[in-house]
Symmetry: none
Subunit: 202 residues, 4 copies
DNA sequence: TATGAATGAGGCTTCATTCAT
DNA sequence: AATGAATGAAGCCTCATTCAT
């Protein structure tokens, strides 16, 4: 039967390849129609695989999405960490973070459709750990005097918010420089001001 | 029909009342199970109305959600506008904006379940217009010298990002003061720094 | 569209009619392929109704089956009860029960396929209540002296077992008489013997 | 391959062992979730074997079930036969049959979950042959005068029905005695009565 | 023979939506 | 305008089974 030949072709894909195939399909489906509108079916259809195969690798749409986010979080974290490690002063700290984040965000456009970019986020342990890590490093930097004394929780929120929102406006790699400088200057000046007007005085 | 008498009770609800009934139900359903998981059925079930009635007022789940967002955008915009109008300097401008936004955000908690708060946003013309309005006012404020010369698009993004992200961390009204002061100081100092290192130099 | 005309036809069926349509289809599907092999799909397919309509009336295959059994139990119980009420002695009691049961069983052939007849039973509260009722009446009959003193629980089991198993061999109404006489004589003589050799002597 | 060594462990199981492994797993799965709800997957999962291996031994769930029933039928038949052979009169005949059957039934509890015990039966050639054998022996016993002249087909049905139904009520070995005496007395007396009122008179 | 990933049919169920009343 | 039963597409997922290794 002709079917047997086709089947063979698919079998040739290794397990890891199939998982990647699904992840890639999911990424593009989410990008095209958004997470909420996408269905497992849509993802499978964007794949040469059979419907049942999806369930050999993921439990649900949420599960693939999580894997995608975790992959992203796993990929960006070392870069952010590295940037923080090399920073010798506040400017380098901030500039390194934003530059790394913007570069990554631009490269990973497509996890969300334009209308939804960064408007939907699913926090997974990995993503959450990424934020926690940033916050801890901020605390350490404040303790070391690399950063002026500011509330680490709020600063993390502010950095995150600016990072995500400004990254949405990026159009090409050429924009990264300006965006990083903008955000860096904003926080550099901002932290200076915050250091002078501690919450306790308010 | 003997049933007509019972039905009268429901008929008593005016058109506007039915619309509000559905909106309220949708708000609470979205809050309880999240936008993605919620269905039109769920919304109807949270209502004394019949399924068909839903379609007299809204076209789909997205449609109600949009109406909800627009109502919110419509409600917050005058407050933000008013705060901007009364501002005599940059500090008042910023503090007014953040205070108004945080107050509103806290009061409108519940459009999303805790796990999803502000993680999903659907931009509607109304919401979009709100951002545009803010940006225009920033441009005007820069022109008038109320704000230092900064890129209005980026500043809008940064304000939005900080506004949304910090608002997520608010737990009670008591937090609003500190959060507003933090954000205000951040941007006050930040803009000062930005004014000294204009994008053109980069 | 031609579709609208067809739809109208289906709408004409009243709620009760649809329920009955489904029950009838389920009965014949279970009869043809057995409960285990039958699927909700099979039942729907044996119907002019849409798949979703099934779920307006029943929750699952088990649910329809239960309804079928309950209908049967509900239908047979009054007849058995009536037969017990009219019995003036043990022979009438037994003969009445078996005759009513065999008549009913023959008429309700088809709830199971031949290969499975009476080999699969799903006890529902109704069915269970039917057995309990029989047992209580046996206790009462023993107390009144209509039946000799025998263990009511075991007698109920034995009657049930003989009733079901013998009913499986019935081929036509003409067999009912002989089967009822056989079973009646068996228990009449059996109870006489049991009365003489109570369990306590064993 | 490095995997081959691990595999060896499984390979050590002989063909017969694998078959038994599957049968045992099937027995416990059927007991836990019932025949209808159980799937081949469930059976495999209760095994250290791979899914494909199942098909080296059985064709389907029905097939294993049949094997289980046949094993049971094969196991019980010699005991029933032996009991019949040793019987010198009707009482011994009946008592031997019931005692053997109840003992076996109690020991083999677990082919079905409590809620389904003996409520589902699948007749296989082996099981069927068992009934036929009983009937033939009854005919022979009637011919020899060991049993009074009764319709062998009906008597077989009645014995079977009482056997199965009463066995369902057994809770421990201690119950076997009483149950066997009850059933024996029932049929002893019953056959006496039947002998006096032959079907021909009816 | 044993393995277990891949397959895709098909089961179950919910859903948005229609439309006769 | 309101109702709610009917619809059937379509979602989710499991299953039996195959077959390359």
């Amino acid at each position: 039967m002709s079917a047997s030949r086709t089947r063979t072709t698919r079998r040739d894909l290794t397990k890891a390849q199939n998982r990647d195939t699904i992840l890639a399909a999911a990424r593009s489906v989410f990008a095209e129609m958004g997470f909420a509108a996408a269905s497992v079916r849509d993802i499978i259809r964007a794949t040469p695989l059979a419907s049942g195969t999806f369930y050999n690798y993921f439990k649900s749409k949420e599960d693939v999405y999580q894997a995608l986010r975790d992959d992203a979080a796993l990929a960006i974290r070392p870069r952010l960490r590295e940037a923080r490690r090399q920073a010798k002063d506040a400017r380098e700290f901030l500039d390194g973070q934003f530059r790394a984040f913007f570069t990554f965000a631009l490269a990973n456009r497509g996890l969300h459709p334009a209308s939804e970019t960064s408007r939907f986020r699913m926090d997974t342990p990995e993503v959450f750990a990424g934020f926690a890590e940033l916050r801890e490093d901020i605390e350490a930097a404040v303790a070391l005097g690399v950063l002026p004394p500011v509330d680490p929780a709020r600063l993390t929120e502010a950095l995150t918010g600016v990072g995500f929102e400004v990254s949405r406006g990026l159009e090409s790699e050429a924009d990264i420089d300006g965006a990083a400088q903008f955000a860096t200057a904003l926080f550099l000046g901002g932290m200076g001001m915050l250091a002078k007007t501690p919450a306790s005085e308010a």
